[in-house]
């Protein structure tokens, strides 16, 4: 322990007691100790960052704080008072609320309803909605964070960033339940936001600090350091330390998270090794148009990684999907290795040696309840079949081989993929395209979304190796830094068009600021 967190404040002085305190929290799951005596203090009017790799126990801890998980041992104190949080309502009554990683709004209700959902108060009398009151209540919440959303708009008609605002407005409702300043937990609020939206969010977080305590969780350490006052680090279900954000550097945090010194710049490590010789163009896209993009030209050479950057609505995701045949096109030619690529459907793309890693891993990337082996061999039947017949032995050998080569941590190949951690899931999804050894073009839509630093590094390394073997890649990166670090060239898309192309060779990388100028 590098901290003095386990100090028990005695006697209790409510007035100066921390907003939230966790002492020795323990939680077992079958086969794993998710929390192994975590201590944490959240002071009043501060933004506390919470860092830790996947599996460090962050999400279990957060769930315990909002009553979704009942700890096996340990205590939770709120403003100097020991509490038992049996449900999310309990937590809300104690002024603790959480913005969940995956947006937790009901798409077909109005924004106002979502904001007051579960705590309608005077908005609902005897089970009857009073729409005017409801709207006023919601408006009050939106005003708090300075948002101008129409409270009666249907939530699914709002932009993503607006929905995030609704989400925060919703969490702030817990103020109504308690006279004390609330504790707001933000779990990975930025993972799907673009930089401009992130700025707006940070402004709101700083504003929240005026009257509340905030727990901020993110995989992006730079963000954590940017917005937080203090950062607490978890590792292996334990608190391993905390640092004032002003004094800390990402490298130091990273070291605390993984327990050894890691490379801050994990993008470039592998890149340095790559052979940088000119290659023939593998993918040639001319004048590709679709519902959300027009006249997109794109060249990708064998062994090259081309990043596409752009804000939400730039159409880059759709271009990516269109190249895989998953989004209709209205015009344009796509040639892969000299042959016209059939964009009529995903099957044709797969057959031509195109692979796609979707952004939404859980719903689109993998089939959760199915085994690692089945997920890995779902696409390339030749790899496990003789004629039309699946050869279990062949499949087992192949899958085990890839599990080993990619260091996929799984009890065995028959385990349901949904029971693996995010990074390992993503490796299985990537392996799907590699098993047949015929992949020529990989389309990567946020391949590292939701992965921790360690898992990210592994994915980067894997992608680099693939590039060295001559696979062409189109990368929609999670952050500008990632795009810059990983790509050889960067195409900027804006409003459905590919506007600029920026070269990004090793040693002569553009800065994020250069790109942002082009994007807007």
């Amino acid at each position: 322990m590098t901290t003095n967190l386990s100090r028990r404040p005695e006697p209790r002085v409510p007035a100066s007691a921390p907003a939230l305190e966790v002492r020795g929290l323990v939680k077992h799951y079958p086969g794993v100790k998710a929390l192994d005596g975590v201590d944490l203090v959240v002071r009043r009017n501060e933004v506390l960052g919470l860092a830790g790799e996947n599996g460090a126990g962050k999400s279990t801890l957060l769930k315990a704080l909002v009553g979704l998980v009942r700890p096996d041992a340990g205590e939770i104190w709120v403003r100097g008072e020991k509490v038992r949080l049996g449900s999310i309502t309990d937590a809300a009554n104690h002024g603790i609320g959480m913005v969940f990683q995956e947006q937790s709004l009901v798409p077909n209700l109005t924004a106002a309803e979502n904001i007051v959902l579960g705590s309608e108060g005077p908005g609902v009398r005897h089970g009857i909605y009073r729409w005017n009151t409801l709207r006023r209540l919601a408006q009050e919440q939106l005003d708090k964070i300075g948002s101008h959303i129409d409270p009666l708009a249907r939530t699914d008609s709002l932009t993503f960033a607006d929905r995030q605002m609704v989400e925060i407005a919703k969490v702030l409702r817990i103020e109504e339940r308690t006279s004390h300043p609330p504790v707001i937990i933000l779990d990975e609020p930025t993972s799907v936001l673009e930089s401009k939206e992130i700025e707006t969010l940070f402004t709101q977080v700083r504003r929240l600090r005026e009257f509340a305590s905030v727990v901020f969780v993110s995989h992006r350490l730079d963000e954590v350091l940017d917005v937080c006052d203090r950062v607490a680090v978890l590792r292996g279900g334990r608190s391993v330390g905390e640092v004032p954000a002003a004094e800390a550097a990402p490298a130091e945090l990273h070291r605390m998270m993984i327990g050894s010194t890691g490379s801050d710049d994990h993008y470039h490590g592998a890149a340095a090794e790559r052979r940088d010789e000119p290659r023939r163009p593998r993918l040639v896209v001319r004048g590709l148009s679709g519902r959300s993009f027009r006249d997109v030209d794109l060249d990708v050479h064998a062994g090259e990684i081309v990043g596409i950057v752009g804000v939400h609505g730039s159409g880059r995701e759709d271009v990516c999907r269109a190249l895989f045949g998953a989004e209709p096109t209205t015009a344009g030619d796509v040639v892969l290795d000299g042959e016209k690529l059939d964009l009529s459907g995903t099957r044709a793309a797969c057959a031509a040696g195109v692979g796609y890693v979707p952004a939404e891993r859980k719903t689109e990337g993998m089939v959760g309840p199915m085994s690692v082996a089945d997920n890995m061999t779902l696409t390339k039947q030749k790899s496990r079949c003789t004629g039309p017949v699946v050869r279990p032995g062949k499949q087992a050998k192949l899958v085990d081989g890839w599990i080993e080569r990619l260091s996929i941590r799984t009890p065995d190949r028959g385990t349901a993929i949904q029971r693996l951690s995010g990074g390992n899931q993503q490796k299985v999804v990537l392996a799907r395209w590699l098993v047949a050894g015929d992949v020529r073009l990989l389309l990567l839509d946020h391949p590292t979304r939701g992965l921790d630093v360690g898992a990210r590094s592994e994915v980067y390394r894997l992608l680099r190796e693939l590039a060295n073997q001559g696979v062409a890649m189109v990368l929609l990166a999670d952050s500008l830094e990632e795009a810059i670090g990983m790509s050889d060239r960067i195409v900027v898309m804006s409003d459905g068009r590919a506007t600029t192309e920026v070269a990004a060779p090793t040693g002569d990388k553009p800065t994020p600021l250069d790109l942002v100028k082009e994007m807007v």
Partner: protein
Amino acid sequence: MSTPVITTPAAEAAVTGRAGVGRRLTSFMPVIALVVLLAALTVADPGFLTLNSLTAAARTSAPLVVLAAGATLVVLCGGIDLSIAALCSLATVFFALWLPDAGGLTTVAVIAATAAIGAVQGVAHVLLRIPSFIVTLGGMSIFSAIALVISDAGPIRVVDRDATHWLTLYVGGVVPMAFVVALLVVVVVSLVLRLTPLESWIRATGYSESAARLAGAPVDVVKIAAFTVSGACAGLAAVMLVSRNFSGSPTMADNLLLPAVAAIVVGGTAITGGHGSLWRSLAGALVVTLLRVGLPIVGVPSAYEQILYGAIIVAAVALTLDRSKVLTIK
């Protein structure tokens, strides 16, 4: 390719025990339910558990088994086929009408026709993106209408019984041929699924259609194939019914729809898709058959019979459904 260097000693949430006794038990639940029901019926009427009686029940169950087996494929893909019973009725009419001309080929012709009709539904579902519930609900009324019109709303006697005689035989003197055929359908289809990539495609489609599609699984083809097989099974079930009733009628099998769906669900196949199997439906169909014929035979009055039937199928599903595999219960 080299092994990545960075290793993170993180606790794996994934490490949990292998299929425990509990999970093994859930996968045998349909059979357990069947045995319990049989035991209960025997207690109610000791005369029920005789070879003859079981043979008759097996013979009775054959069309239901076949119908349920076919529709199970559609359910595994995440859809539902409400048209099986109406299609089966239509097929009995086809059979009766075609038999004089087609003779021994009638069986094949009928199965081919219903398979084609099933395929058409599959294509409509896939191409027009209409939910299978609606396509097959529409199909149900359309097939009934066609059957009524071509049969002139009446049953058609089948005088020439040679074409269906083989189905009324008994294998080894005990096992009804119709049941053997039904078993064969279950076994053959199960084996085909297991031995080819079809099973993983079907499951992937049922669990997560978009993931399956983005993994390049031939989702559309698999779905159409499922509907085709379901149609073919309706045709085969029709031949079985004709062999039993010596006639074809436009409403003959209509009342088998809900029992067939009940059989699938009682077997523990998730109505949301992905999880389940044909042998489960086989067990489910036997449970439903025992309920349909067993309860009145052991002397349960008709009013109580319905109440019991309702209560027992709900209880059976509560027993057999493996909730760890089904995420949402709607």
